[in-house]
């Protein structure tokens, strides 16, 4: 038997013979556990592999299986039997076939496994845990029952209705282990059973059987004792926290059952409403009896006592289910009100009261649970679909008004506020989707306009960030609302801006910054995603330019405001299409040329750049007027954000303008330059832009200007750019006057270099060579005839110039949020970082080796650190062996200065990346003692907790190297670690304990299990 079941090439006649002899000769249940298991495996195999052979055996086979399966208790066998039954059902799909007559028997066999008692002693079952088993069995059997339901039709199932109902109930109660209710705003429209498969399956089954035979099952539910007990227990607990855990679970289960049965069909909905709704209303204190007596004060009826939680919960569930049912069926376009008569009437008569009751809950109840269901109830009442809604429009408006008053007044109750906002958003998007024009009108009037007015009001009671959250939330729930909101938003923004421009109002500045941030972070992306608002996108930048143009003199002290403005400008421009960008840039160029003091005449720029340069440099550095600076910065923002195809007017002039301004320390100008060279020429070559210039010309302009040679002057070296040699000019003057320009020029150059690097242009080599020569300038510097004071001053200067040159590498390599990224349409060549890394390393390494001056060596390390920490780890791993020694020196160098902590940390992360990689570890082995020396030094790093933590983690990784290698360092590590056990930060201490154990256990056998 065993042989045959495993052979797999048994012919069908043999299989038949096996099956027959199995059925005739074997009494499966009288065998031992192992043999039974084999029997079931054999059966399973027969059913799965030879369905055509065994199917004709019909009754006999099914009977045999029933017999074999009956009263099986071993868990491993049970798993098999359940699978066998499942396959069996699939083999006999015919409802009138042989299987049908055995359905009843099978149900009996199966139903004895509910509820499941698992008494198997622990540890004997191999890998089958009690929970797994019961879960799998339950899921299978639930699925199986649902497939039975669809196969056998109502009559046959009717016999088993009670058993099925009981099983479903049991499954639900047992599977709901803990309260799954959560009261956050996210769950307001969400599902509850994301993880609980059994409950989900049980409810599906319930829905199916109810759909098939609603009268029977509904009466079971309505008359069910448990549910009635639960309902009767409801009034005894007033609030959520009073209910014991078990009670909560039962309540929740009852809610699920009622909700699913209400959802199933119109008739069910009516029936459930009839039997439960009045009772719930009574518990809530809203029954008609009470109210009919005194009719006149009904409208002013205020619910004085608190609502009962259980009843609140159940009625909200019922409402939700009813709403879902109606919403679902309207799509099938059968919406005669008469079919919903009962429930509809009830809802209609209660809607007013319910609304009031829910509202009062919101105001009075201190409990999260009450508030949650209050809001949910209101939301549901407001989202019954239009024509059949039992809720009149006046109630709808009342609900909106209630929520709005929460938004404007109750902002201190965080949960309530968030729920209300979320509910408003849900209502908004619901009516927008269903196109209910009447409701949309009221929504616009009550919600949207109010919300817009919030922003423009000078109302200080409500925190501004909350206002913005509300406005962006509401805006995002529908196109129409957004259009309206944007309009109001911009009005408020420009009103505030003019306030600032004209009066220098600082308070408005803060508000404006918030507005701008909200605009660029929340509204703009949404507008862009949803589409069609080119004119909206375009309007904002154009209006900003117009406003600036019309304001002739203003002084704005706020740097932050300018930053926010630039960000908003960049985002707005970046989302625009090419045509709109052209329009914007033209407009901005006009403003730039007409209303500023910048020299924009082309002749000047082209013919006498040298004089221009000299002229500019001799002027004071900070002679930019405030307004000029704004215009220039915003212009730079536009340039940064445009697409490559967009035509920039008069490029040469603009290049010159940017170059001169960047030498005054204007970083956005440098970024704009980088952006121009990055996007240049990709599409403009050959087009009508040829009147301007090509990329090569542009670069020539940039590099032929003497600013870079100024730089060289200051750094006292003879450097040739484009072959022009510069001698030392007046040293003194260079020191005094050019101190800033050098550093600024380096910064500017680094952005230009970044632009070139991203597109993979060769010229980036020249740029990096300039940086490198700055770094090395120490060697051949000749401070000739200066006195000592000037000498030391010059030393400082030189150090800071070198430092900025080293830091330029970070600009080159790192990703920038501000410019030259995908969002702003930069041209980015794939793998540019790897490429740059592999060109730079062979150059840097020998330089570091050869460098004999301490200063320039440390600066080279710095540059190295910037490059390596921005390179993808994969690339570094390839070179790990060569890089490790330098990397370690670099770490110890950075260890000295607290200012370098971020660089140090990112470099340490590279090391930790190497150490946790398999190949990386191999590369480290040879230098293990160096690595450990370095890491133990970092354990006590005082300036940054993350560095200490990472260093210890690296040490843990080191403990996995071959023991022979690391054993000698063991004592050293343990000593260093024992200090870290006393660290002031918990995270470090915990890592230290881990590390200590890792290192202690490599020595003693007994410690390692």
């Amino acid at each position: 038997m065993r042989r045959k079941s495993s052979a797999g090439v048994v012919t069908s006649t043999d299989a038949k013979a096996v099956a027959e002899s199995f059925l005739q000769n074997l009494q499966v249940q009288s065998l031992g556990q192992h043999d039974r298991k084999l029997c079931f495996e054999l059966l399973e195999c027969l059913l799965e592999r030879y369905p055509n052979t065994v199917t004709p055996m019909g009754d006999e086979l099914i009977y045999g299986i029933c017999e074999a399966v009956d009263s099986e208790k071993d868990p491993q066998c049970l798993m098999l039997t359940f699978h066998i039954v499942e396959v069996l059902v699939q083999l006999f799909p015919d409802t009138s076939g042989p299987f049908a007559s055995f359905a009843g028997d099978l149900f009996e066999i199966l139903s004895c496994y509910f509820p499941i008692h698992f008494t198997h002693p622990r540890g004997e079952d191999l890998g089958i845990k009690r929970d797994d088993l019961s879960r799998a069995l339950m899921l299978d059997s639930l699925k199986y029952l649902s497939s039975c339901t669809s196969n056998y039709g109502p009559e046959r199932m009717a016999k088993h209705a009670r058993a099925i109902w009981l099983s479903i109930k049991d499954a639900l109660y047992t599977s709901l282990q803990e309260p799954t209710l959560s009261f956050t705003s996210e769950s307001l429209d969400g599902l509850v059973f994301q993880e609980n498969e059994i409950a989900k399956e049980a409810l599906t089954l319930l829905q199916q059987v109810i759909m098939q035979n609603n009268g029977l099952f509904l009466s079971l539910i309505v008359e069910d004792e448990d549910i009635n007990i639960i309902l009767n227990a409801v009034p005894s607990y007033e609030s959520y926290s009073d209910i014991p855990l078990q009670g909560k679970l039962k309540l929740f289960a009852a809610g699920c059952i009622l909700s699913i049965s209400t959802k199933t069909s119109v008739a069910c909905c009516n029936m459930i409403f009839e039997s439960f709704f009045p009772r719930l209303m009574e518990i809530l204190g809203l029954s008609e009896k009470k109210l009919s007596g005194d009719h006149s004060p009904k409208d002013n009826y205020l619910i004085s006592k608190r609502l009962n939680f259980g009843a609140l919960y159940l009625s909200v569930e019922l409402l939700a289910a009813c709403r879902d049912l109606i919403a679902g069926s309207t799509q099938i376009a059968c919406k005669s009100v008469s079919t919903y008569e009962t429930s509809h009437c009830m809802l209609h008569s209660f809607s007013n009261l319910l609304t009031k009751a829910f509202c009062s809950t919101l105001v009075t109840s201190p409990h999260d649970a009450d508030i949650y269901f209050g809001v949910k109830g209101l939301q549901i009442l407001a989202t019954f679909p239009g024509d059949v809604s039992p809720v009149p429009i006046s109630e709808f408006e009342n609900i909106l008004i209630t929520f709005m008053s929460i938004i404007t007044v109750d902002f201190k109750k965080t949960l309530l506020w968030r729920l209300a906002l979320k509910a408003l958003m849900n209502i908004g998007s619901f009516i927008d989707k269903n196109n209910e024009s009447e409701k949309i009108l009221s929504y616009m009037r009550i919600v949207v306009e109010k919300i817009v007015s919030l922003v423009s009001l000078d109302d200080v009671t409500m925190p501004f960030p909350l206002k913005l959250e509300a406005i962006s939330g509401i805006g995002r729930s529908g196109l129409n609302y957004m259009l309206h909101i944007i309009q109001g938003f911009e009005e408020a923004l420009f009103a505030n801006l003019s306030e600032i421009y004209v009066h220098g109002n600082v308070k408005s500045a803060k508000v404006t910054i918030w507005l701008l941030e909200c605009y660029s972070n929340k509204l703009l992306p949404w507008i862009h995603e949803n589409g069609v608002f080119e004119e909206v996108l375009l309007r904002f930048p154009i209006n900003i330019w117009k406003q600036i143009e019309s304001c002739v003199d203003f002084s704005v002290p706020e740097k932050e405001l300018l930053d926010a403005m630039m960000t908003a400008m960049k985002h707005a421009v970046a989302f625009c299409s090419e045509e709109s960008q052209n329009e914007i840039i033209q407009k901005s160029y006009n403003v730039l040329s007409s209303s500023t003091s910048f020299p924009l005449k082309e002749s000047v720029a082209l013919t006498i750049p040298v004089q221009l340069e000299g002229l500019q440099l001799t002027q004071k550095m900070d002679n930019l007027s405030c307004r000029d600076e704004w215009i220039l910065s915003l212009f730079a923002s536009v340039v940064i954000a445009v697409r490559p195809q967009t035509h920039i007017p008069n490029v040469k002039v603009i290049l010159n303008l940017f170059i001169t301004t960047l030498l005054k320390g204007h970083v956005p100008a440098a970024q704009a330059l980088g952006s121009i060279v990055n996007k240049f020429g990709k599409s403009s070559t050959g087009s009508e832009i040829s009147s301007d210039c090509t990329l090569e010309e542009a670069l020539d302009i940039i590099f032929q200007l003497k600013l870079w040679t100024h730089l060289n002057n200051g750094a006292l070296l003879r450097c040739s750019v484009n072959g022009s040699e510069m001698g030392h000019t007046d040293l003194c003057q260079a020191v005094v006057n050019n101190k800033l320009p050098q550093i600024l020029a380096i910064t500017g150059l680094s952005w230009i270099g970044k632009g070139l690097l991203l597109r993979g242009h060769d010229k980036v080599k020249d740029v990096t060579m300039i940086f490198l020569e700055c770094l090395l300038s120490n060697g051949n510097a000749l401070p000739l005839s200066q006195n000592s004071l000037e000498n030391s001053c010059e030393q400082d200067l030189r150090a800071s110039v070198m430092k900025s040159a080293a830091d330029a590498f970070r600009v080159l390599m790192s990703d920038s949020e501000v410019c030259l990224n995908r969002k702003f349409h930069a041209i980015i060549r794939p793998l540019y970082k790897q490429r740059f890394f592999s060109t730079m390393m062979p150059i840097l390494q020998p330089l570091i080796m050869k460098s004999d001056s301490l200063l320039s060596r440390s600066m080279l390390y710095r540059a190295f650190a910037h490059i390596i920490s921005e390179t993808p780890l994969v690339a570094v791993l390839g070179e790990a062996k060569k890089l490790i020694p330098i990397l370690l020196d670099c770490l110890s160098m950075l260890n000295k200065d607290a200012q370098d902590k971020d660089t140090l940390y990112s470099l340490l992360l590279v090391l930790s990346g190497i150490l946790t990689d398999k190949d990386g570890q191999e590369a480290v082995v040879d230098n293990a003692h160096l690595v450990i020396n370095c890491l133990t030094g970092l354990i006590a790093y005082p300036h940054m907790m993350l560095v200490r933590e990472t260093a210890i983690q690296c040490l843990v990784a080191m403990s996995e190297l071959p023991h022979a290698r690391i054993y000698p360092m063991r004592i050293q590590v343990l000593q260093a670690i024992s200090k870290a056990l006393d660290d002031s930060r918990r995270a470090v201490r915990q890592e230290a304990v881990r590390c200590r154990q890792a290192w202690a256990s490599i020595a003693s056998r007994s410690l390692h299990f």
């Binding site: 056990l981 918990r986 007994s1006 410690l1007």
Partner: protein, 154 residues
């Protein structure tokens, strides 16, 4: 160990959920009882495959710590009065804390009052460093302790 189990049928309690500490970069990171509890809760009982937490031998409340003076006091409750494993449990605690805290901490380990027949002698034994050191030199005992400490994945 041939004599059979001392407490053959201990009451097993559920493990409490580990509360993730909130990441607060400027928060007070002083050593607190929960820190210590987190280190010792998973130590295995010498004779059952359950942790000290599951057997309710330890709780967070039974640990006090004074960071300024560098003192830690752990009071544990053996599962039964005449438990001969009490000293082993105490020894495990001591070894574990020695690994997890810098040497300047003074650790006192006691059985909770009234929970053990020989309360006084057990306390004395556990806080006598000579006797602790001697016990740890006994290879069998040492192995037992190590098993308890490092086979926490039950």
């Amino acid at each position: 160990m041939t004599l059979g189990l001392i407490n053959a049928n201990p009451v097993v309690h559920a493990k409490k959920e580990r509360v993730a500490r909130t990441e607060d970069p400027h928060g007070d990171d002083a050593v607190d009882p929960l820190d210590i509890y987190d280190f010792v809760r998973d130590i295995r009982d010498p004779e059952h495959p359950y942790s000290l937490e599951q057997l309710s031998v330890l709780s967070e409340e039974s640990i006090t710590v004074d960071e300024k003076l560098g003192r830690i006091l752990i009071t544990f409750t053996p599962t039964i009065q005449h438990c001969s494993m009490a000293t082993v449990i105490g020894l495990c605690l001591r070894v574990k804390l020695k690994h997890c805290f810098p040497p300047h901490y003074k650790v006192d380990i006691k059985v909770s009052p009234g929970s053990h027949a020989n309360e006084e002698s057990v306390n004395k034994q556990l806080n006598d460093k000579e006797r602790v050191a001697a016990a740890l030199e006994n290879p069998n005992l040492r192995q037992l302790v190590d098993e308890c400490l490092y086979s926490s994945e039950l």
